[in-house]
Symmetry: C2
């Protein structure tokens, strides 16, 4: 593998996916310039994650590009429209159904953009930190979706068609976290040197960028660190408040 | 069919696709509100087409939305990067290979955005004016790409998954122009009341929005009107110049 394009959101999972890509590229590539982090500014309410994505990419020696698409004009999700982010849902609620934070066709759109970027760069390897275990409610995080996208990608592009004609392998879509639990993802990240303090997972951070600790994503992240027996470096709004009170 | 989302570029083909969708929806839908035109502002150098798209949508009684995505940050095409648009290519050049005006993964990205928009609107019918006859060089205009996208779309979305569970048909991707020649497309448009003077096809229009008459798209359009024996309402830069000289 010569180079890779990695979708990096600024969250925990994509930081680990980037670390895996760095490992995969590192053995055969020409170092830092072979690793390309791509973030999408889609009008998300948790835009602080774009800054986190830049920090994560820099820490891994990757290039970083942000492409803007105004998905607010599409609407239909608590992440982009004027819909409240759900808080304090219990484990049963977290594990069933498709949440309101689902953004219609988001991963398909992001992968399509990443595919075009990879084609321009001459890369044939895309990485995305989707996971079918903790986020079972999202249809676009399932293996069957990824495999279908791979087939479509190799029909959609000049590079895919030419590779096919030449019996090359075409584009590959790597999902190294697909079947891992959150604690397993965290431990994999630790083993690959990921600095999780650079990442942010919260759907609804406060103005200082501190995590709410209560949305689905915060709950899953918090429990993951606990189950992995790894210290959670996240700055939570409630804890920060307690700390400030304690320090006064 | 209750409603449709139609990708409308402002060009000739997508205007005819919109007219076909209007016909298909009209018999069963609730009129104008069932027809949704979607245009993508992707940083194209021929941005005058977005204004044409609005005119076309309005003329058909469709809603019109523009979603912005900065594909200039991806680069790699004469339509979005600082690469000259080829001019005066002959028929042999026009019919072979993938042109530099190919935008990496463009139709895949546009269809993905349209899919998310359709999911939010509750529509299951997407229309795109792709054509495998005149634009054989574009991989993302082929029937096998469209069929693969349809499968991916029904795995990528909440609506597609739920329809599948309920044995509903899921999303359909309509390509009414796929196998038509340019003269056939023009004649179909005439029969459905398309006002082609509202459309623009040029990749490199002048500052007044007049077509260059020499890029691939202009050549194919011009020849199409000739072969269809339909008057070409296009305002070409050179002709306008002759007209102005003639009138002085």
């Amino acid at each position: 593998m010569k180079s890779a394009v990695v979708l990096v959101s600024g969250g925990l999972d994509s930081a680990v996916a980037l670390a895996v890509a760095r490992r995969d590229v590192g053995a055969h590539g020409d170092g830092a310039r072979a690793l390309h982090a791509l973030s999408i500014d889609y009008g998300q309410r948790h835009r602080v994650e774009l800054e986190a994505a830049r920090r994560v990419a820099t820490s891994m020696g990757a290039t970083h590009r942000v492409i803007s698409i105004d998905l607010r004009a599409v609407g239909g999700s608590a992440l982009t429209a004027a819909i409240d982010v759900p808080k304090d849902r219990d484990a049963d609620e977290l594990s069933h159904g498709i949440p309101i934070t689902y953004v219609p066709a988001r991963n398909l759109t992001f992968l399509s953009i990443a595919l075009g970027y990879a084609e321009v760069l001459g890369s044939r390897d895309l990485y995305i930190g989707v996971n079918a275990v903790d986020y079972s409610g999202y249809p676009d995080c399932r293996p069957e979706f990824i495999e279908s996208f791979r087939q479509t990608a190799n029909l959609a592009t000049k590079a895919g068609v030419e590779d096919h004609d030449a019996h090359a392998r075409g584009f590959a879509i790597h999902t190294p976290l697909m079947m891992l639990s959150k604690p397993e993802i965290i431990r994999l990240g630790v083993s690959l040197g990921v600095d999780f303090s650079l990442t942010t997972s919260c759907y609804d951070p406060d103005s200082a960028g501190r995590a709410c600790g209560r949305c689905d994503s915060c709950q899953i992240r918090r429990r993951g660190f606990g189950d992995a027996d790894v210290p959670d470096p996240t700055r939570y709004a409630a804890e920060a408040g307690r700390h400030e009170r304690g320090g006064s």
